[in-house]
């Protein structure tokens, strides 16, 4: 019998069309697998009844010949997308009881395409974190284990850690994520998945709990590049309700995979050879370069001279925007309220109790950077450096069509590691943040396994609005790498 939780989305769509199985059957198989995988804590809110209802409706649509692009495919929705009548928390205490009265544009598009929602995926508190250890609802555990014998629980990466863990553990066929500085690409790398963040403006931000508005962008996780392309297709498109959403035609992303990389120029930015990078990450990168060369791409050296300033730029701009966005949580209109003697103390009590430590740290940094006397020195300065970083990419793309880099400076680490020093944790995103600051599309694909048997990711960065080339290069890497490893903990009921 077909293993209903271990197919790609593309295979499942074919099977549904051939009547090999129904959406109700696939959905039920995933619900059973979720029950067996509770220990991963990948979901904050599971919605099995809703999923089965959606699946039954999907089966009816398909029988009537009205199936949408993703009809009947069970997915996980990051708990940052507002979903009508389904609690949406952004993994924060401040929104622990928030039940949206409206549907985000991206989740609505997926419903319109016929997707079945298994539940709301765990994440870092307000999407702030690189390890999914800041969630109000507990850590997400990676389904992967190192082969060093000590069986330590590993992080799935963050902030979209629940989405990545769910897809990797076969308790969702694909999942949505959001990426502000690497929150799709880094967890995709840690969990052995394909994860794409499109160009800023490709997906509507309407109904996504805001972190840093000039950086936040929705994207997709799949177990292969094609699945990520298919999911992204249905998420993308112009939305008049988001003023930064681009009024551009969405290309055929999955169709782009048919092309090869012959003659494409792939840039290798020399500044990404940072000091102290582990040997196996350098080797991964060199292997990726060799594979693309073998596939007919031309490798060119490029320079992104302001790379080293991307991280400090991000850690001014993102917290500054966050401190402004998160000012809305005041205990009055929605979410947590902790009463005080007067209005000010109600605000202060509510926010002290509702936000986790990392969120408070970032609000504090942002408030400081925007405060009188420091605004020019920090915030305006960071915006200027941001332009120089973006200009670096524009220059590089005069010489190449896409860039290849590692996704993260290491494989997944154990829960609790890197927590003593926030700056050390921030270094996880050193390779993903520059593209975020420039608003560029980026994707992580599995590049191989570390010496400890853990997935490592390669990142492809493209020109603005050129997700097609990113996907094509990702696809070429995927074919060459032939990544077949699966995590140790798969949410399958023993037969």
């Amino acid at each position: 019998m077909t293993d209903l939780t271990n197919m790609t989305m593309a295979e499942a769509l074919k099977g549904l069309e051939n009547k090999d199985f129904t959406s109700v059957e696939i959905t039920q198989a995933h619900i059973d697998a979720m029950a067996a995988s509770k220990g991963l804590n990948a979901y904050i809110t599971e919605t099995p009844e809703l999923a089965l209802k959606q699946a039954a409706e999907s089966d009816k649509r398909r029988a009537a010949g009205n199936a949408g692009e993703l009809d009947g495919i069970p997915i996980a929705m990051k708990d940052i997308f507002c979903t009508k009548d389904v609690r949406t928390t952004a993994a924060s205490g401040i929104l622990h009881n928030f039940v949206p009265q409206y549907e985000s544009t991206v989740s609505q598009k997926l419903l319109d395409a016929g997707a079945v929602t298994l539940g709301k995926a765990n994440m870092d508190d307000c999407a702030m974190g690189s390890s999914n250890t800041t969630s109000h609802f507990g850590n997400v555990i990676s389904p992967w284990k190192a082969n060093d014998g000590n069986n330590a629980d590993l992080v799935p990466g963050g902030s979209s850690g629940g989405s990545a863990a769910a897809v990797s553990a076969r308790i969702a066929m694909a999942a949505t994520g959001t990426d502000t500085g690497g929150s799709i690409r880094q967890p995709a790398a840690f969990c052995g998945l394909a994860g794409i963040k499109p160009t800023y403006g490709r997906c509507s931000r309407w109904g996504i709990v805001a972190f840093a508005s000039s950086l936040d962008q929705a994207g997709a996780f799949g177990r292969n590049v094609e699945d990520a392309a298919l999911l992204l297709q249905s998420m993308s498109g112009f939305d008049p309700k988001d003023s930064t959403s681009a009024d551009l035609k969405v290309p055929d992303f999955a169709g782009a995979l048919a092309g090869d990389v012959k003659g494409l120029k792939i840039g290798i930015p020399k500044e990404y050879r940072i000091d102290g990078i582990p040997e196996e990450i350098s080797k991964l990168w060199d292997d990726g370069i060799a594979m693309l060369k073998d596939a007919g791409a031309e490798i060119v050296d490029v320079s992104l001279p302001h790379t080293k300033y991307a991280l400090p730029t991000y850690y001014v701009i993102a917290p500054a925007e966050a401190s402004s966005n998160l000012a809305r949580y005041d205990g009055v209109k929605f979410g947590l309220r902790v009463d005080g003697d007067n209005l000010d103390s109600t605000y202060e009590n509510t926010r002290a109790e509702g936000f986790g430590e990392e969120v408070i740290r970032r609000i504090m940094i942002g408030t400081y950077a925007l405060s009188s006397g420091y605004y020019d020195a920090y915030y305006i300065k960071a915006q200027k450096v941001r332009r120089l970083i973006a200009n670096d990419f524009t220059e590089a793309y005069k010489k190449c069509d896409a860039l290849l880099t590692p996704t993260a400076p290491s494989a997944a680490f154990a829960i609790g590691e890197n927590e003593d020093d926030p700056v050390k944790m921030y270094l996880n995103d050193v390779f993903t943040i520059p593209a975020s600051l420039a608003g560029l599309p980026g994707m992580s694909v599995p590049g191989g396994l570390s010496a400890q048997g853990l997935p490592l990711g390669l990142q492809v960065i493209g020109r603005p609005w050129d997700e097609e080339t990113v996907l094509r290069v990702g696809n070429a890497l995927e074919k060459a790498v032939n990544f077949t490893a699966q995590p140790q903990s798969i949410g399958k009921i023993a037969a």
Binding site: Q101, S214, Y309, G340, L343, Y368
Partner: protein, 95 residues
């Protein structure tokens, strides 16, 4: 630059976050460390560089000034911690 406990207390007050003495003490080195890290931006020459506020190279759209949506009082109040007769309720502000 190194922040003092007084600096941190001021920022906490601006951000409307209640903070115990203990928390303030803990944040002083953490925030100083992060601020120290971002201060390396000072070494970048940004003369004649325009600040980049948005990577999207489009002008904001205009639409006719017409009512197109609304009438959601019930939905807007649905998640409020306290409401009364169609209003949000807060602690007394005026004696």
């Amino acid at each position: 630059m190194s922040l003092t406990k007084k600096d941190v207390a001021k920022v906490a007050s601006l951000a409307r976050i209640k903070m115990s003495d203990e928390k303030l003490e803990a944040l002083v080195p953490q925030l100083s460390n992060i601020i120290g890290f971002v201060e390396q931006l000072a070494e970048v020459n940004t003369d004649n560089v325009e600040p980049l506020a948005s990577v999207v190279d489009i002008n904001l759209r205009l639409r006719p000034d017409e009512v197109t949506d609304g009438g959601y009082q019930k939905e807007i109040l649905a998640n409020a911690p306290e409401t009364l007769e169609g209003y949000f309720v807060v602690p007394k502000v005026v004696e």
